[in-house]
Subunit: 677 residues, 3 copies
């Protein structure tokens, strides 16, 4: 079997044959081959079938399954099966069940009912994983390891006594001494000083606002505690099967886990993604960009999406015909090398029997879900040479998971403020203009970017302001928005006038915040108009800004701060830094981006009509231009001199190209061909 | 004293004299006799007054009360007093207090604070009931037994350890083996396989969706656990007073208890009914029809209603003058032989002191509640010959309590779907046309009906589809609606294409569901118009339907399934079966019913104007036609040749009849008199 | 140092220097003196810094702080530091943590995590308070004692076992015997009779409505339990420092605590007040009047307000420039002799770091908060002679904390009914007309008032109706509103026709209530028009009223009670009593007040334009007239012959006076000068 993932676009899904008689397995193999499936994730929820007591394993059925896959040329993404502990285990160790903040202990009967810090859980996982790895280490079907499943999706935190002990250990490592912990948590406030380590607890239910330092450290600890669970498994797997790649499936912009840190510990990054397909449609593109960015641009895989509809929202509309194909190609256009689904065959019992699948409850031949699956799977067989190429980006958005945690902890001036909205404002504008965009982190190399957006970076940890300052000084353009640079990594105020670490970069200070009680818009007047309108609606937040060198680009029109700056620009070194002191309507971000793209020379790979996205992947001397029609109506693209092969149809194209409703085209050219530069 | 309930319309209420000094009892007797009261329910909340320790009873006050009733010719509906355990008992057995899903144990101080599976509770009930029955078995006032009170109204389920053990016993009985339980619950999903019985638990709080099979069985168990409590009492009573009828009070369409099953265990069926009287007025008629149907049409009793207003809603509007009388007669018109109230005398303390009553806090002579009570009570004295006659129905609506449980368990395509709404659509239309309607169940005889409605029968248990098919084959007309026939009794999908068990009957298959995100209406166009409009608004649900022989009667106008069938009709045997693949506005159901009534020859007993209902009761050679004006304005009825005696006024009527606002008339004729056929 | 509070307006704030290095303390002293600060509250959250184990105290830092204050001429309001127990204490005594109604035990990490009935907590408080008092009893900075902090703001009740025992003791004291408790609680209802004291519990989570008598007594107990905590400290302080005044900070109209009772136990009354400053602005005036009234008109102190914005609402708008000054003077205008803030220096860590302060995170010289603080502090230095004078009121509103508890317990005819709204209707009208208004209580002397409002006095305890009757009989005018006089102090109905204790005073009876389902307005027609409009909108409540001598002033226009009285007036002795049987729009209350003011000869101290308030304080032969512009626009006042000195500017004024937006003027004249009578 070939290496992974190069030279193939992976295609397949979660496969749970233990729910079906083995006669159905045979039919599955035929259908998978017909549909172009080359990878299935197995064993994800098989613990209770694989083990019935400590040391008592039942691998026979899995042996037969692995053999069957190998016979049919299908790779196994073999799960470690630790996501849902069996009843025999929780019965023996009730202390491993999760404890909520209010002391309620959760029970069995769904999934993920374990405390990540439980010693019993961790030891049982290790025993199972070692047995699995030893059993299948040389099996020809084994392609990769799928550790656990969607860590933290239901139980992001445990508050019990075993967690308390583990939290104290983690705190000792982080802070070194109790005195430093007291300083970091600001325990001089509200008489919270700790005199002994044993007094320290997780942030259980309290009469009112809990200590922010304690809460922030607990969020860090919770992410790390699950990462340690993952690494316990990974170390065993790497010892036994050092050549097999290891992953676990991430869930979009997921607040509880610091995926940037996690991604460094995995061999490649996977995404489970379920955008809302109707009503307010949620574009998946920002998650595609984020997933790629977690691993610094390396190819990644959609591990789960659905053909039609999910079952876990209050209402579960279905993707209309064509939308699943569009989004699949859009993932590839943003750097994915694999498209998988939850799940292969729709369950006939259990809590997910109304979750869509590749093969539904009826006859495959008469099901849209299977027909669309099969069509896409066969199309992807011809795209193997895209695998391993690199997505092209020159703009970046700064993202910091710990800022997300700190910003939304409550007791802020405006507690409706969400980090995601601040980030989306810019990503929406960049996506609409087809400007390739990475997310960057505090440890990222910024030198390849021309334009950097820094939304609501409330928590500016040591070195971050300096890093952004250096980027601007070297000629970059940065846009920083309101309520940035307020606290340090311990959630202590940067004293000396907001936003202290950014004051010299931005050439201003912020005297105070003026939060409106309601969501009514107010006007901001543009005073200098480099491509902007005369005024924009803003809402939600306002700052009383005093220029200390910055140019005023726009001013507030209302309130006791009317006439003071709302938007500023400040030359700094070879670059410049903008500051936005309020929350604008989307049109402002769109217009501002056009101004900035013009000023920094950023252009999309091809000028395309509204609703069409164009992206570029390059590698090994080849270049692939993806054209994606995000509207349910045909659109015509002027190729503007570009020519090449449209590889889905195999046709040579020139002059112009028609995209069907939700249609896709992929044009292959040699790298650097002048047609597209 | 005479037998019950024949030859009298029962009239009375809950009577709690233990809250008052005995001097008030004397006044009560005078007022009761003045008001025509012939039955009071006593002892419902008297446990703490009747017993102060194990084996220590205090019956003297109850002796005096029973004697007083007998002296005044008032029957006692003697309660078993087990609805609210006394503090001395829960103090001795704290384990009998109910445990919620999250582990919270409820406390004393309100009522119904017992775990139905508690051995201590059950034994204490048995002791009390035996003592009561032995004490009063020969008392002349004793007319019937009122077991407990409104079972499950506050505590439908307990999740504690004693319940866990009882649940396991119940499961052993149901499934026989653990392997069969695993199969039934689909535990291959999410690693939920049980290896030992001791691992099995009630569905306590879980991280996410609990196992649907476990939840469904737990709903069955909870209904059965309380029924067993009821039967423990009933067995003792039947042993000691075999001739006294036994009942307990039901609460309208109440989800936790399978009243159809319960009704088989009682001697007659009672209803507690509290429709909202203003704003969105809730008609009680569907509950009247359901109550009668639980006992296959036998006469039933309103055990509780209120004269004016309740106290337990957020806002408690009062019934305007006349509405209580109308609804009381409407109950009789739908088969009731008794009209009782909660309660006789309004409490002066406690949580229900603002609940309306027959006698209020002030002077009875100046109170509307007492005046209306007295007027009705005296009117009913003359209606004894209606008692025991039978309500006339030729249409039926299929109803299945377990389908209610399964349908609304969550993780469905549209989790806003409620069973009650689906059922009400049809009942509203039938009620508006005065077409007498029964509810029917999986064990009902369908042969007497011409028209059968089967709304949202998601769970089609073994034999049900066959039974409905046989009804159609024999010449009946059935109307089945969307999301029917999806799962079997274990909540496992009927494989082979939806709705598998109904496909041949309906002549179609359903490929998939298309649930809208919002509640905006969409158009459905009628393609064949047997009395229907050109189009109707639909919303909420849509199905992609493929005809396999059915005629398309209407099609969707929007979505990727535009032009495909929304309504179909299929000839089957001597009858025909309709299918509705979406949720319509009420006008569609009204219009469709007119079409179906015409086609099947169903007519109301008399043509009446909108807002007037007409029903028929027959028996012993007599026929009673009830005319009920459901509007607060006078209406004139054309009798269309009918003549007879209006028995409330004693007048002979002919030609026409005037109904006062909310007025009632009852016309008595000989059965089969041509005037009303 | 001078006595307190006479001859000075106190000015200062909470001061938490333990959060800062001592170098900052020096800067604080300079800034405080610059800002006119003469009082700081210290030690409020210092327990963990003052004591590290039983008997182990650390007073050195507090010694240095007290010395520094004394050196700088700043008084210490020394807190007893018991508001937030240290972790070492809760670790030793986990049973002192609070238990919620559902059994959840709260944890440490915020504040106020103690059960008021905990013996361990009370003993630890006593030890700390004794040590503090002995340490600082002779310190020159010590001006007063600040016991605990905002009692009950997060934990108004505990439901654990230690509380259960304490509750039983309290009940024994209140009721004397279990039989009387059973009678008081109406335990004949729902089988709740208690046979042993040990069966009695706090009202923990119950299946449905808990016993109202139990709930009401528990609310009384909870207020008393915390008052006992306060008194344990007060007794120690009074023993050691008998000359130092004692207070604790109250929180506006706060439902859990009976502040009227508490105020009798303190030396003076303090208010913490945080009105919402934008959107729907909350005027603080009704809290100013209430605070003064708790102590029968004695001068009081704002212990906490904020310069700019708080941090604990969902959104936290800031006070625009000038509003804090206006409200500070408005407090003084309503009898305050001190203006303090939370807090002096804004925290840099912890849950309140975004709560506004006198000195913010940046440079004081560039901060609005400090500039406004300093300006006000220096202005107040000249107003010492106002201290100790008395606010002038001739109208009163009856207020009863236990009625608040009883009225809002649930299971009422309309459970949206709130006591505060009923009270505000009248206070709004009185405030708009600048008619000085006290709140009065069941033990108040009513003889000084001409006009008395009695809104929604559901619970009429023994003597209350008689007291109000005597007020009217002696010539007063009373206005009583709907749902008054319904129950006695045990929440038992006053039998005999509503509102039994007020029937003869009002000359009417109420037959029943008619609560609308919705909030749509209905019309009430005025039948006699002494200055009223022809009709008003009403909503929310209606009563079926039968006159028994009262004049009908207005009638309902809708419903089955159309034409019956909605408003009545009844001459009684030398006075008269109005009754309002519904809830009106504000205009009705405003118009009615004008009528009543005219009839009773009540006038404001000066005729002022809308939006301006005028109040009067008198004492020691002086009279101060406060003019307060509550609008953000200048207003001109016609002085109508009045002359005197405007003491903020020192100017003699006559004829007219201009008030700046949110401006204030204080005119000093000799008492009885004809210019203002």
């Amino acid at each position: 079997m070939p290496d992974l993932p190069s030279s193939h676009i992976l295609f397949g899904g979660d496969y749970n044959p233990e729910q079906w008689p083995e006669t159905v397995w045979k039919e599955d193999m035929l259908l998978m081959r017909e549909a172009g499936v080359n990878l299935v994730s197995i064993g994800i929820f098989s613990w209770a079938k694989l083990q019935s007591a400590p040391g008592v394993f039942h691998f026979e059925w899995m042996d037969r399954l692995m053999d069957l896959l190998a016979e049919n040329g299908i790779w196994a993404d073999l799960a470690t099966a630790t996501a849902s502990p069996p009843a025999w285990l929780t019965c023996r160790h009730p202390e491993m069940l999760p404890t909520l903040q209010n002391g309620t202990r959760l029970s069995i009967g769904s999934r993920q009912h374990y405390n990540p810090s439980s010693r019993a859980y961790r030891e049982a996982c290790a025993e199972l994983v070692r047995a699995l790895a030893l059993r299948y280490k040389d099996h020809p079907a084994l392609a990769m390891w799928h550790i656990n499943n969607e860590y933290a999706c239901h139980v992001p935190a445990d508050y019990g006594d075993e967690t308390a002990a583990a939290f104290r250990e983690w705190l000792r490592d982080r802070h070194g001494s109790l005195e430093k912990l007291n300083e970091s948590w600001g325990t001089a406030f509200w008489s919270q000083h700790y005199h002994e380590w044993e007094e320290v607890l997780p942030p259980r239910a309290t009469p009112t606002f809990a200590n922010p330092g304690q809460c922030l450290d607990f969020q860090r600890f919770c992410s790390d505690a699950l990462l340690e669970c993952c690494l316990i498994e990974a170390r065993i797997l790497r010892e036994i099967t050092p050549s097999k790649p290891i992953t676990t499936n991430f869930m979009e912009w997921f607040k509880p886990l610091d995926y940037r840190k996690w991604a460094q510990c995995l061999d490649f990054t996977c995404l489970d993604i379920y955008p809302q397909p109707t009503g307010p449609v949620q574009t998946p593109v920002k998650s595609f960009d984020m997933t790629r960015s977690w691993s610094d641009g390396k190819p990644w895989v959609i591990m789960e999406q659905v053909t039609t509809h999910v079952n876990w929202r209050q209402r579960n509309p279905t993707k209309p015909p064509g939308l699943m194909r569009l989004w699949s190609y859009q993932a590839i256009a943003h750097g994915a090398d694999g498209i998988c689904y939850f799940q292969w065959r729709q369950a006939r019992a259990g809590a997910e029997k109304f979750h869509g699948s590749m093969v539904g409850h009826g006859e495959p031949s008469s099901q849209r879900c299977y027909q669309e699956t099969k069509a896409l799977g066969n199309e992807l067989k011809g795209l193997g040479r895209i695998a391993g190429t690199t997505f092209h980006a020159e703009a970046a958005i700064f993202f910091d998971q710990e800022n997300w945690w700190a910003l939304e902890q409550g007791s802020k001036p405006n507690n409706d403020l969400t980090y995601v909205r601040g980030v989306e404002n810019f990503h929406n504008a960049l996506h609409a203009l087809s400007i390739g965009t990475d997310f960057v982190f505090e440890d990222s190399d910024l030198s390849k970017y021309k334009l950097l957006f820094v939304p609501c970076l409330y928590m500016a940890k040591p070195g971050v302001a300096e890093k952004i300052g250096a980027f601007v000084e070297a000629g970059g353009t940065a846009v920083i928005t309101y309520f940035s640079g307020i606290v340090d990594g311990n959630d202590h105020i940067h004293l000396g006038g907001y936003p202290a670490p950014f004051r010299s970069l931005l050439g201003l200070s912020v005297e105070e915040w003026a939060v409106p009680q309601d969501d009514l818009p107010f006007k901001v007047s543009v005073t200098r108009q480099p491509g902007l309108a005369a005024s924009y609606n803003a809402s939600f937040w306002a700052e009383v800004i005093r220029s200390e060198g910055a140019e005023t680009m726009a001013t507030f029109s209302e309130g006791y701060y009317a006439g003071l700056p709302a938007v500023t620009r400040h030359a700094f070194g070879k670059g410049c830094a903008w500051y936005l002191g309020t929350e604008f309507e989307q049109a402002f971000y769109d217009d501002l981006l056009k101004v900035l793209a013009r000023d920094t020379g950023l252009t999309p790979p091809l000028a395309v009509p509204a609703g069409v996205e164009v992206t570029r992947r390059t590698g090994a001397g080849k270049e692939f231009l993806f054209l994606l029609n995000q509207r349910n109506e045909a659109q015509s693209i002027d190729l503007n001199g570009l020519s090449g092969t449209e590889i889905l149809t195999g046709r040579q194209i020139a002059c112009s190209l028609e995209l069907a409703p939700w249609g896709v085209a992929i044009i292959e050219t040699a790298v650097g061909s002048e047609s597209i530069e």
